[in-house]
Symmetry: C2
Subunit: 343 residues, 2 copies
């Protein structure tokens, strides 16, 4: 039988000590970490970037198919992704959790194992937080802090007509991962059959263990690229590109045949009689970077195989369009990705 230590046996302060006993400090900017009223950070000479996310059980994640370790890892990564999307480097996080009495110390340990694995991989320090009981459901709130050279942060609003539209990695996998897991959950609930995830490592992995594109931000620094606009794709490519267009006051042209798609994503989409392009355009939670650069950066962008050029920005009056494989032009619409609606 698995060990189960009741959280009440440690007490609030005992629990915090337990969960943070092996917490490491990796950044010299971390002056004071966990254990006081607040943490202290020294970003002298750099600007501080801050972003926050709230993740609620039953809305943003389903513990029936999400291992707690993966959840801890992902909760951190999606926040860091927002910091990278500013062309900044994350340095610290604070993490609050609320949990009901169905959670054991071992369960929280698993969650924190994922948190610490992400902190280690992305070289960020966990410097504070709050733990609380909840009446029901697991609640996660993470705020990430980063740093950026003065005024070299990248907003959503700086894209110009003729800028190239670029995206890192591949699109649509996370949405299909969710679709598979929801389907298998339903089958299990109805028939008791164990999940069949044969050949689904790619799509499921994209959902449960996404990565933030630290490497792309490092490439920008190395190649001296400063995008004119950028965000990370959480709602879906269409919806997020329309955000950039709105905030930059531009139009855009996307090319269907340029959208980066993995074969495993396409194969499974066909199996479900879904259009892979629709998955790439509207599937959310890919956490890839969507950004624009001036045409003069074309050669630099081309050198990075992890980046695809998928279109270009236009004047506002030209609208937001996608050119299909067949050469037809359609208006780009935001299907979006609404966690609540997906349930």
């Amino acid at each position: 039988m698995e060990e189960r230590t009741e959280i009440a046996s440690l007490g609030e302060f005992g629990l915090i000590d337990h969960l943070t006993a092996n917490n490491e400090i990796r950044n010299s900017s971390t002056i004071l970490s966990i254990g006081d009223d607040a943490a202290v950070i020294d970003h002298f000479g750099r600007q501080t970037v801050i972003s926050t996310d709230l993740l609620l059980e039953g809305i943003h994640f389903d513990l029936s198919y999400t291992p707690l370790k993966h959840l801890g890892y992902k909760a951190v990564v999606v926040n860091l992704s927002d910091i990278y999307a500013m062309n900044a480097i994350p340095t610290q996080i604070v993490l609050s959790i609320g949990f009901s009495n169905r959670f054991s110390v071992e369960a929280l340990d698993e969650f924190y194992e994922g948190v610490y694995t992400a902190c280690d991989k992305y070289n960020v320090d966990l410097v504070g937080g709050d733990t609380s009981t909840s009446l029901r459901g697991f609640v996660i709130s993470i705020t990430a802090i980063g740093e950026v050279e003065p005024d070299s942060f990248v907003k959503r609003s700086g894209a110009k007509p003729n800028d190239l539209i670029c995206v890192s990695g591949e699109l649509g996998g996370s949405f299909l991962g969710l679709t598979i897991l929801e389907r298998e959950k339903k089958i299990f609930e109805e028939t008791g059959s164990q999940p069949d995830l044969e050949g689904q490592a790619y799509n499921v992995g994209r959902l449960l263990k996404p990565e933030a594109r630290k490497d792309i931000i490092e490439y920008f620094a190395e190649a001296e690229i400063i995008p004119t606009s950028m965000l990370d794709i959480s709602d879906g490519l269409s919806s997020d590109l329309l955000h950039i267009c709105k905030q930059s006051n531009t139009g855009c042209v996307l090319y269907e045949d340029k959208l980066p798609m993995n074969d495993d994503m396409k194969d499974f989409a066909y199996k479900l009689q879904l259009d892979p392009t629709a998955c790439a355009l509207s599937g959310g939670e890919d956490y890839e970077l969507l950004f624009t650069v001036p045409q003069s950066d074309y050669e630099k962008i081309r050198l990075n195989p992890g980046i695809s050029i998928i279109g270009y920005m236009t004047e506002f009056a030209e609208g937001k369009n996608i050119i299909t494989r067949g050469g037809n032009k359609h208006e780009l619409v935001a299907q979006g990705w609404n966690h609540a609606k997906n349930k």
Copy 2:
């Protein structure tokens, strides 16, 4: 009939626009605010202080007797209190909320009215956040950011034997406010009688609309006082003083007759046959500052009528004690204040 606008009628982005339409920027350090992946802050030449709190309906607050406007105000204030407790000045907050479909746009407006009132009063900028639906219950997560002159932040661990123990304001009121409201709620549930809060403005106000002691931090700067240790009282004086002793590796002596107590607090405590001293020692959520200063600061401290000197620190070996009015010495114990246990 009260107006009720469904949140769904605005959509997620419409709701964010609506709630943040009148958001003001008050600090020149706020470089980029709401509307991007992250906010950007410029604390050049100062260190950044960060603290976070998670507030859950049914654990930390009860909407049956907590007006949403007060809740918004308090949620901000308790976070700012942590920043002041570092001897720092809060400059920005990020705010995430999760709400079920029982909430209307008007209800969220009320909550934000309280948030903005607190931002205005304490001169902080709301620079980001996250909004989400929840399956049930109202979830609030706030992270506060502040700034401090390099290395003039105050930790819990710097108290020395013979330092004076000081506290701002008065103690125990918030606990009695909670006791009254819980009692009236029970009576209402059992008999339908309307709450009788006659003469309870002080205690109820201490619970529902606490203030953070900005004025004390300003006085420190003015009088050139740097406390040797400090925290804000959220768990209760005993419990929080024991934190300072533990982290500073000292003992302490408190004097019962020096504990600052309001007459309304004492009167109601007697009415309930409670010991006002116990309320002052163990009642939580007072959000007063508890700090230590060297004896050489005695004259400076004495000049501020908002500060009481309640004891002194000792060597660790002398233990943690309270001297009663009758002159007896008792060991100081942490009753603590555990939201979950109070329910």
